[in-house]
């Protein structure tokens, strides 16, 4: 079922190869942007080419040699990996397109560094997605941390530099926790491979060992997954340019965090270990609390991007909660939520950026009447908001449905209540924005047209995708089938 292939390696590497080209064409923006878009398209196509095989149950593997004695650096494209990779690579194309319009609109400096860092980040993200074992994961995860730093501090204002320091402080600490956890795991289990159903299943270890290992791993991935109280870096990182927030902090960086949580819960510890050692409940409680607190804090933010940041924190914990419910349906829902939240949230961030670049507004309270001036933009916002609240026909409904189903079928109705309350809160912090935009007339945007096509087209596309996938969940790339495959693997123990 596994077969050797170099395609995963190419998928990871193609944007790295673009980096020197980007750096060399710093004085010719058109060329530089071409490299970026080209690399993004190439990456997406390479990932896509692996899809039929994976759907068929085959697993492409690239072995890169021993990295420490006994453990290989290896890429392994299973269903979970390809879901994440598809999301990240497809949205990168759109984000790159969007970036071009955005940076022109706000006249950003240091664009070469920006595009080059993006390319490295995406390499690292696909590397995370395709990691076959914990140490490969850690290598790419840490590279992602370092590569995102230039993007966070992009504006080089004191605020940005402070945000960067906070980001590093949190993520590097998580990194050392992962190092310790991985070294210990290797001593205990003799291997570091991700195994569907759990590497630690059947391994002889004391309860204390398992629990501390879990703490180390969840702490390590929980920072990027913005689990409270490890989330503080995320709102601070909103100081970065919007496309950075959009892709990285709604899609790539934070999703690697929750991807990590899914890997840890489903492929390192496994459902039966999680229940046997009472690891699931504490995680669920933390996730549930994060959802509620974050949603409430979102309500309190006037700055649009900060509101979206807290919304992201809440939604990431949907996925963590889904994992912690230890139910196949919920796990399916969690995987789906990676994709649904990505499309919806990126739409919102694109809108926020368009508003900033085009109408020069940051805060919700300043958005009266903007719907008249920017109808496409704000309609997309409306669509995404509906989905985030968990309502059909947007794709957010289906992922939430499955998580809720999992909660109900395993007798954990409290989680269901949390989800429903959060849905209401989502509506509470998003719908009024739409209301203001369309139904509160104001003269302040008279004469202002829609934002540039570079920005509007991507956000309409992502909004449209959200609806399309909402109506047709298994459409395009059969995400639903993949999600079910993943759950079956984790809960059935079948590779």
């Amino acid at each position: 079922m596994t077969y050797d292939s170099l395609v995963p390696l190419f998928a990871v590497a193609v944007s790295l190869l673009a980096v020197p080209l980007i750096l060399a064409s710093s004085h010719r923006p058109r060329l530089r942007e071409t490299w970026t878009i080209g690399a993004a398209v190439a990456k997406f196509l390479l990932v896509l080419s692996l899809l039929p095989k994976v759907l068929d149950g085959q697993i492409p593997v690239t072995r890169l040699g021993e990295i420490v004695p006994g453990v290989e650096l290896a890429l392994r494209v299973d269903a979970l990996g390809i879901v994440f990779a598809l999301v990240a690579s497809s949205l990168w194309i759109l984000t790159s397109w969007y970036s071009i319009g955005y940076v022109a609109g706000v006249k950003e400096q240091k664009q070469t560094r920006y595009f080059a860092s993006f390319a490295v980040c995406l390499s690292a993200t696909i590397g995370v997605a395709f990691s076959a074992n914990v140490i490969t994961f850690i290598v790419f995860y840490e590279v992602l941390t370092i590569a995102t730093y230039p993007l966070v501090i992009h504006k080089e204002t004191p605020e940005a530099i402070r945000a960067g320091r906070k980001y590093l402080a949190y993520t590097l600490t998580a990194g050392v926790a992962l190092l310790a956890g991985a070294a210990w795991l290797y001593r205990v289990a003799g291997s570091l491979d991700f195994v569907p159903g759990g590497l630690l299943e059947g391994v002889d270890a004391s309860g204390a060992t398992i629990r501390v290992l879990f703490l180390l791993f969840i702490g390590g991935v929980g920072v990027k997954a913005a689990l409270m109280p490890l989330h503080a870096w995320l709102p601070a990182a909103m100081v970065a340019p919007t496309p950075v927030s959009a892709l990285l902090h709604a899609v790539a960086v934070v999703k690697s965090g929750v991807f990590g949580v899914l890997r840890v819960v489903g492929f390192v510890f496994g459902p039966s270990v999680m229940t046997r050692y009472d690891l699931a409940l504490p995680l669920a409680v933390v996730a549930g609390a994060t959802i509620l607190v974050a949603s409430l804090m979102a309500l309190a933010q006037d700055n649009l991007k900060r509101r979206l940041a807290y919304s992201t924190i809440g939604h990431l914990s949907y996925i963590v909660l889904a994992a912690a419910l230890i139910s196949p349906e919920a796990f399916t829902g969690g995987v789906l939520h990676i994709t649904t939240h990505a499309t919806m949230k990126i739409t919102l961030f694109f809108v926020a950026g368009a508003i900033y670049a085009h109408a020069h507004r940051d805060n919700v309270s300043e958005l009266d009447g903007i719907g008249r001036a920017m109808p496409w933009t704000m309609s997309a916002f409306a669509v995404a908001s509906i989905g985030l609240a968990g309502l059909p026909p947007v794709n957010g409904f289906e992922s939430k449905w499955f998580i809720g189903l999992g909660a109900a079928t395993t007798g954990q109705e409290v989680a269901l209540v949390v989800l429903l309350v959060s849905g209401v809160l989502n509506a509470a912090y998003l719908f009024p924005i739409v209301h203001r935009a369309f139904l509160r007339p104001s003269r302040q945007f008279a004469g202002l047209g829609e934002a540039s096509p570079h920005m509007v087209v991507p956000l309409v596309v992502t909004a449209g995708l959200s609806v399309l996938l909402g109506l047709w969940p298994n459409g395009l790339v059969r995400l639903y089938d993949l999600a079910v495959m993943i759950s079956r693997g984790v809960f059935g123990g079948v590779a």
Binding site: E66, I67, P69, V139, E156, I161, L172, L179, R187
Partner: protein, 495 residues
């Protein structure tokens, strides 16, 4: 020819040391050229020796044909060949740029400087190659005297630093000699292998414990193990840049070599770890040294002093690995010898380049003009910094992997914590420099010159930095090859 390798390795350098001043009388540049040629030859010999030893096993050479234990023996085994290679290769790379540094800081002393370098390297290689405990003392002092001289030719305060170095170093050597007296009195021999065979018969004699303790203290001084490290910060700071770049990466490593050799190969693991608690003492002192060095480094305002305290911490890592006295821990220690040699060499070469181009190495005066002026130099610094912090896939991550694994194997969680915390402390003081160099805008009235043009280091000074940086990445990625192929062969009996 191969049978002469063990003696040729120090002899080539000694011959060059004696010949070069004569040639230097004719033309100054010849001294430098001879130095580089001799070290290059030495590097070739050591690599050859390493290959031979890996293929065919240890080789020994009898000085003057006298049979040991009456005569003095030179021995090449995996441990000594590995250390000899590291010393020669790192010295060679640094020497490429050394002349430019010397020309900038002490042009009139070029000839004696390089003669002293050759003498120092003779001493170091001699320490590594010799199989006789008294011969070790002699070579140790040869190397040390040359090092004192090299330190003394720096800025105005450097003789003071050199004198302190001399005083503490000579005291340490004397204590070693006294400890050796106990060993000689009890065993009647000075040959390492012979003593190792005889020692078990005198295990019960308290005089042996005293001797061992004195030897450990003496070598600890040379290695700058806490709390015998007092000479290091001033010496590394005040020495001329070329001297720091040569002494810092390899000077303390020979002390570490001697400690490994004597503890594990002469006295034996069973004695030092199981019967007495010597390795535990080394372990705890090293742990304190790690934290102490890292904390002190944060407090420094000047870069060379910061790097000096960092070296105290890094030597602590090596001591930690030695103190763990288990296979994985020892692998970590030996791997960190080569990793740290490359890292510190790169960082001190960068410091030298900064000194030459900017005129100072004050952290407080670094701003983004530095990065604009010397992008490649700063890139090399960044790689070195990332490795010191322990970001994969650079070499530093893997040192910490092995050390943490070794600590886990012995159940010493506090040591794991020490390793992790120190990584974060390293991040603090390195990122402070990086942040300033990349992001701080020159906001002083009397600032540095307008950050206009490139002022990159000349190729002869830049290439070593870049080579070492590339080496750091290569050592990381290929560490499994190194460990399996070479380091794993270093197996003291009982480990």
């Amino acid at each position: 020819m191969t049978e002469h390798l063990p003696v040729l390795i120090p002899l080539v350098l000694l011959t060059a040391a004696l010949a070069s001043p004569l040639f230097g009388l004719i033309r100054h540049s010849w001294t430098y050229r001879i130095t580089v040629a001799a070290v290059a030859l030495d590097a070739g010999l050591t690599m050859w020796g390493l290959a031979e030893v890996i293929a065919d096993g240890p080789m020994s050479y009898r000085l003057g044909g006298w049979v040991p234990p009456i005569g003095i023996e030179f021995v090449l085994d995996p441990l000594s060949a590995f250390f000899a290679t590291v010393i020669a290769v790192v010295a060679l790379v640094v020497l490429v740029g050394a002349r430019a540094l010397v020309a900038e800081e002490l042009p009139e002393k070029e000839v004696p400087f390089f003669v002293a370098v050759l003498l120092m390297l003779t001493g170091f290689q001699g320490i590594v190659i010799t199989g006789d405990l008294f011969n070790l003392f002699v070579f140790m002092e040869i190397g040390a005297l040359a090092a004192y001289a090299l330190v003394a030719v720096g800025e105005r305060p450097s003789p003071v630093a050199a004198f302190r170095y001399l005083l503490i170093g000579a005291t340490g050597a004397s204590l070693y000699l006294l400890g050796l007296w106990f060993v000689y009195s009890l065993t009647g021999s000075l040959n390492m292998a012979d003593v190792a065979a005889i020692l078990p018969t005198v295990w019960d004699n308290p005089a042996m414990v005293i001797g061992l303790s004195l030897i450990v203290v003496g070598l600890g001084v040379k290695m700058a193990m806490f709390p015998m490290h007092g000479w290091l910060p001033d010496a590394y700071t005040q020495a001329p840049s070329a001297a720091s770049a040569l002494i810092a990466p390899i000077g303390t490593k020979v002390g570490a070599y001697a400690l490994i050799r004597i503890l594990f190969f002469v006295f034996g693991v069973r004695l030092v770890r199981d019967r007495l608690a010597v390795t535990d003492v080394v372990l705890w002192l090293s742990a304190v040294g790690i934290i102490y060095g890292s904390v002190m480094a944060i407090a420094q305002r000047e870069m060379k002093r910061m790097l000096a305290y960092s070296s105290v911490a890094q030597v602590g890592y090596i001591g930690l690995g030695i103190g763990l006295a288990n296979p994985v821990g020892l692998i970590g220690a030996v791997l960190h010898v080569v990793n740290h040699a490359f890292m510190k060499a790169a960082l001190f070469v960068v410091a030298g380049n900064m000194r030459v181009k900017l005129g100072h190495t004050d952290i407080g005066r670094i701003d983004a003009a530095v990065q604009r002026a010397m992008p490649w130099t700063m890139a090399a610094f960044t790689v070195g910094a990332l490795s010191m912090i322990g970001v994969p896939p650079t070499a530093g991550f893997f040192s910490k992997w092995y050390l943490a694994s070794g600590a886990i194997d012995r159940g010493l969680w506090i040591m794991v914590l020490v390793i992790l915390v120190s990584s974060l402390l390293n991040a603090v003081y390195f990122f402070r420099v990086l942040e300033r160099a990349y992001l701080r805008s020159g906001d002083r009235e009397e600032g540095t010159e307008a950050a206009s043009g490139r002022n990159e280091a000349r190729p002869v000074m830049l290439v070593p930095a870049l080579l070492l940086a590339a080496g750091i990445v290569a050592l990381g990625v290929f560490n499994a090859v190194l460990v399996n192929g070479v380091i794993d062969l270093i197996r003291p009996a009982g480990l």
